[in-house]
Symmetry: D2
Subunit: 333 residues, 4 copies
C-alpha cells in the first residue's frame, strides 16, 4: 500500500502513523519528495482498512498495490479453473450453454423445455424454484416442490441442474441440485456465502446490481476462503441511469475478469436486458468477448403465447441462437 | 394499470390479451384512440407483472396507476406512524438522535461512548456487533459477544440499542435488542425480511446501494405483510459515478418518502459520505429537509487518535453537531 | 399521450386541464375507471411538455405513446439509411472500419498510420486535430494545422477522413474533411448541431456520457431537422459507478438503436474502455451485436514504445483484430 | 505523481520509462519495495497524462498527488472569493437568493415576477432567454428579445440579471447582462469557456449531469486561465439510476467544493428535483449544508394555474421559503 501524506504534516504525527503501521506487523518505507512524503507499506496489507487510512486527516491519499483477493486471484493461480459438473466442463475454453425457464411451473413444462434445450445443445438446465421478488405479493416460486420438478427433468434428460438458493436454511432441499446459484441481490449476503463455502458443489455467483468487479471477487473469496473453490462468476447487467433495458450489460467485465481471476465467467443476457429480442445479439456479443458460457431463459408455453415478447426465448429462437453462438466461437478459434 | 397497444395489432391478438387479463379477475376498459388502443385494467392489479406485460410484442407500453405497496402507503394510512421504543418516539415530529461507534470493541469503549452521546442528547445507542464486510479477511465484528457489551451499555445508560442482524439464524441473540437493523446489502434479502416480519420489535431498514424508493418500500412491505408494522426507513446514500464521497446522499428521498409513506424516515450521514468532516453539514441538511432522525457514528478512542479523520465523529464534535441540529429544527418549527 | 389523473380530482379542475389540452389543438378522450380517470390525448403531442404535465398536482402520471423523434424514427423510414462518403458505405449491411491515431501529431505519423490501417482494411482514417480536454493545461491538438496533415494523409492513401469539430466558428477549416465528428461532450451543444444541419457532409454523432438513447436520437433530430440527414450514431460508453474501465460500453444500445432508428450505428471501443487490451474483445462483441462499423485508435510510434499500453492499438494488433472482425461478421451472415 | 510498477518489470523497460519522465523535465525518485517499485515524480506533473501512464503495460497503477487545478484551488488561495455584481456579494458568508421564471415570456410576466421575488428578498433575477432543449421541436426561448425583456425588468426593479449563454456567437447580445450562466450541457464546451474567460463579467457555471467535482473545477479553471476569475459554481443534480426526481441533488458537493476551492458554491433545487414541492425542503437543506446561495424558479401565472405543480414555485411559496432559509441561516450563525 502506498500512502501519500499531506504537505506540512508534523514529524510527530508522521511518526505516530508509522508506528501504527508497524504495530500491524508492516514494514514502512519512507520516501520524502519535494512536495509530499510517501509511505510504502511492506508486508500483508490485506488487513489494513484503506478507507480508514484515506480518511486520516494527515493523509492525502492512499492506494493499494496488491489486491485483497487471494484465492481467486490469477496472479497466484495463473491457470484457468475448470469447473466440472457431471460431464460438463466450464472454463479454459470449455463453453457451457445453460438454458431453461425463469420459473419452474409444472412437471410438463420443465420436462418439455428441458428436452427442447437439450436438443438445441444446452448442457445444463436452469429453472427458478425459490424466486427473489421485489414484492411480497408476487409469485415466490414453487420452492421445494420446484426442485423436485427440476430433478424429474434431470432424470428425464440427464441434464445437470442449476437453481437459486436464497437462504442457508433451505440447503437440505438442494442436496441433489448440481449447481447452486446466488442471485444478484444476495451477492453480499455474507452469511449465505460462508455457508456455501462449506459444501461440495459448484456455486454460480451473480454480480450484484451495483457491485464492482472487486466486490464480486471478494464475494467469491468468501466462498473459497470457506473451502469451496468451485465458483463460476456471472455478469448479468448493472444498474445505471440508462432506462431502455432493465440493466446495462457490462460486457467488458468478461475480459477484465479473465485477467483478474482464474475462475470461469459466464453471461446472463436475459436478466441483463429484460427484452427477449435483445438476448440473441447480446449472447453473440458475449461469446465474441470470450465468455465461458451463457445462461438463457427459454420457455415453452403454447397455451400462453402472450408471453412471447418477454425476456424468455421460445425453443426455436434458442435453437437458432445456439447455432450462431457456435458459429461465432468457431470463427474465433 | 394502463396498457397501450401497438399500432396495427390484430383484433384476434388484442382479444387474446384481454381474455388473459380477465382470467386474472380484472375488468378491462378498452379505449380506441386515433393512433393507438389503450386498455384500462380495473381491479387488483398488484399481481400483474408489469415487466411481462411491457415485454409482450403487441404492447407499446404499460404503466401502473396504483402503487404496489399497500401497508406502508400513505394513501391508505394518511397519519404518520410513530415508532416507539422505550420512551423514545420516532416520527410525526418526534426526532430521534441515534449515535454510537461503528463497531463494538470493548465494554469500556461502548460504555464510554454511550455515556458521552447520551450527555449530548442522543436517545438511542448504535453499535455494530455483526459486521457485513466486503472482504472475508476483515474484522467481522464481535458477534454475540458484541451484543452483550451493547446490553451492558444499555443497562449503564438506559439508552435503547440498535444493531444490525445479518441472518435470521442469529435471532435468538437479539432477544434484548431494542431495534434490529437491516443493512443496505440485505435490503432485498427477502427471507430475512419475512422473518423480521414475525417478531415484535422495530426494524430499521436501510436503503440498498442501488435501490429505488419503490424497492425500499416494497422491502418494508415484506416486513409489514408478515405482521410487523414498526418499520423505520433509512436513507444512507446511493452508488453513483461520483467518487469523492463513498456514496451520494440522496436527501430528496426524505420529503419524497414522507409523501409516499407514513413510516418514519431517518438519515445516516456517516455511511453516506464516509468522511467525518462532511457528517455535520449533511446532518444539518437532513434535519432541514425534514428527516425524523439521524444515525451517526461516534467513537471515543484517545489511544488511536489516528482514526480522527475517519467517518466517525469525536464526542465533542457530536456534541456541537447535536446543538446545531436542534437549532435548525427549532428554526423551522 | 396518456394522462392518469389522481383520485378525487374535482370536476372543475379536470375540465380546466382538458380545456388546456384542447387549447393546444389536441383531442381529449376521457376514460373514467374505477379508481382513476385517464385522458387520452389525440393529435400532435410532440409539443406537449411531458414533465410539466407530470408535475401538475392533479396528475398521477403521464406517458407518451408516440416518440418525439420523427426524421430519425424507423417507424416513418423503415429502410436502413446508408451513409456514403466517397466509395465507402455505412449502414444496411455495409460495415465501416475507421481507424487512426488519437491525435494528429506530425505528417510522418499520420501518413504512416494511415498507410498501415489501410493495408489492414480500414476504409476511413480518423485523427484528432481539435481535442476536447478536461484540463486547459493539456495539449489541445494541432487545430487547423492538424487538419492539413490529415488531408495530406488522405491525399497519400485515398482514405476519407473523419475528425472532431468543437465550434461552429471553425467550420471553414473543415471544408475538405469528409465526415465531421461531434464528441460526447458536445452531444447537446444544440447551437453546434443546428449549424451542422446546414452543411452537406455526414456527421458522426457520439452519445454523451450520461445521455439516454432518446436524447441521442433527439440530438440527431436537431441535425436532421436543419436539413442534413446524413447522421451516423456512435456508442462510446456511458458513465456508471463501475470504475475499472473509463466508461461502461453499452452494447445493447446497438440492436436497440437499430430498432428505433434507420440511421447507422457504430461503436468506439477505444474510448469506451480506455484500455488497449480490452479493445479487441469489445470490437468483436460490437461486430457480433450488429454494429455498422468500428472506430478504433491505432498509433505507430516506435520512438515512444512506452505508449504501447494505452487505449491505442499498434498496427499489427489492429491488423489481427480486423481479420477477426471479418471472421465474426462472416460467421453471422 | 506516484507510479507503481508491476512486479517483474525488466530494468531496461523501467529505465526507458524513467527517461521518458525525465524528458518531460520531471525528477524521478525511485523507491524499491519488497513486491513493487514505486516512482515518485517531482516537478510540474500537471502535463502528465495520468490515463496514459496508467495504461502502460509495465505500470500497475498511478496516482496524482497534486491537483491539476491551480487558480481555483483553495490550497493556493486560502481566502474565500467574493463575487460582486452591483451591490450584491456572493461567497464568504454572503448568501445570494436568485429567483425568477424558467423562461422569459413577456414583459408583463418578467416584471411581475421580478417585483414579487424582490419583495421576498431575492437579490438577483434569473430568466431563460436562450433555452437548451432536448428536442428541436420545443420552444427554444425568445433569444435576444428575451434579454431585452430581462433588461426592462432590471430597469424596473434594480435587480441584476443572470441568464444562460449557449454560444459565444451570441456574446454581443449579453453586453448588459450582469451574470452569464453556462448550463449543465455546456459545462465541457471548452471553446465557450475560453471565450467567457476573456470577458469581464461573473460566470455562473453549472455542474454537468455526469461530471465529477474535479471536472467541474477544471472547467472553472478554463475560464480563469483565460483571465476571468469571477466564477460561481452551481450544484444542480446529477444523473443516477434513481428515477423519482429528475436528477439526484448531490448536496455533499457543497462542503466538499468549499474544501477544494475558494469559489462560491450555490445550489439549484428546481432543476435538481424537477418537482416544485421538493424545492423548499431541498433549499433549506442546501442552506443548512453551507451553500452560498440558491437559484430558484418562480413563476407568476394566474391564467395558467395548471402549472402550479411544476418545478416552479408561486411567489407566495417563494416568499415563505425565503423566510425559512433566512431562519436556518440565522440558526447556524
Amino acid at each position: 500500500m502506498i500512502v501519500v501524506l499531506k504537505n506540512g504534516v508534523s514529524k510527530a504525527r508522521q511518526d505516530q502513523l508509522i508506528e501504527w503501521f508497524k504495530s500491524m506487523d508492516l514494514g514502512v518505507h519512507v520516501s520524502v519528495g519535494e512536495s509530499s512524503t510517501v509511505l510504502g507499506l511492506i508486508g500483508d496489507t490485506t488487513k489494513v482498512d484503506l478507507e480508514l487510512v484515506e480518511s486520516l486527516d494527515i493523509v492525502d491519499s492512499a492506494k493499494r498495490v496488491s489486491e485483497r483477493f487471494k484465492r481467486c486471484n490469477r496472479k497466484f493461480h495463473p491457470e484457468d479453473t475448470v469447473v466440472e459438473v457431471g460431464d460438463v466442463k466450464i472454463g479454459a475454453g470449455n463453453f457451457a450453454m445453460i438454458a431453461g425457464p425463469c420459473s419452474v411451473e409444472s412437471e410438463e413444462q420443465i420436462i418439455t423445455v428441458a428436452r427442447a434445450v437439450k436438443a438445441s445443445g444446452a448442457q445444463i438446465l436452469r429453472g427458478g424454484a425459490f424466486k427473489p421478488r421485489t414484492s411480497p405479493y408476487d409469485f415466490q416460486g414453487l420452492g421445494g416442490e420446484g426442485i423436485k420438478l427440476l430433478l424429474a427433468a434431470k432424470k428425464d434428460t440427464g441434464l445437470p441442474i442449476v437453481t437459486e438458493i436464497m437462504s442457508a436454511a433451505d440447503l437440505p432441499l438442494f442436496e441433489e441440485v448440481d449447481i447452486l446459484q446466488v442471485g444478484a441481490r444476495n451477492m453480499q449476503n455474507f452469511d449465505l456465502l460462508k455457508e456455501l463455502g462449506t459444501i461440495d458443489k459448484p456455486i454460480l455467483l451473480k454480480r450484484g446490481l451495483a457491485n464492482t468487479l472487486q466486490e464480486l471477487l471478494m464475494s467469491a473469496e468468501y466462498i473459497m476462503a470457506s473451502g469451496n473453490e468451485r465458483v463460476i462468476l456471472c455478469e448479468r447487467g448493472i444498474r445505471t441511469y440508462s432506462d431502455y433495458t432493465r440493466n446495462t450489460l457490462d460486457l467488458a467485465a468478461v475480459p477484465m475478469l479473465h485477467e483478474l481471476t482464474h475462475l470461469p465467467v459466464i453471461v446472463d443476457p436475459s436478466h441483463a436486458t429484460g427484452i427477449a429480442r435483445l438476448v440473441p445479439p447480446m449472447s453473440l456479443a458475449a461469446a465474441a468477448a470470450g465468455a465461458d458460457g451463457l445462461i438463457i431463459e427459454v420457455h415453452n408455453d403454447p397455451m400462453h403465447a402472450l408471453c412471447d415478447g418477454a425476456q424468455s426465448l421460445r425453443p426455436e429462437e434458442f435453437d437458432a441462437l445456439a447455432r450462431k453462438v457456435t458459429a461465432v466461437r468457431e470463427a474465433l478459434k
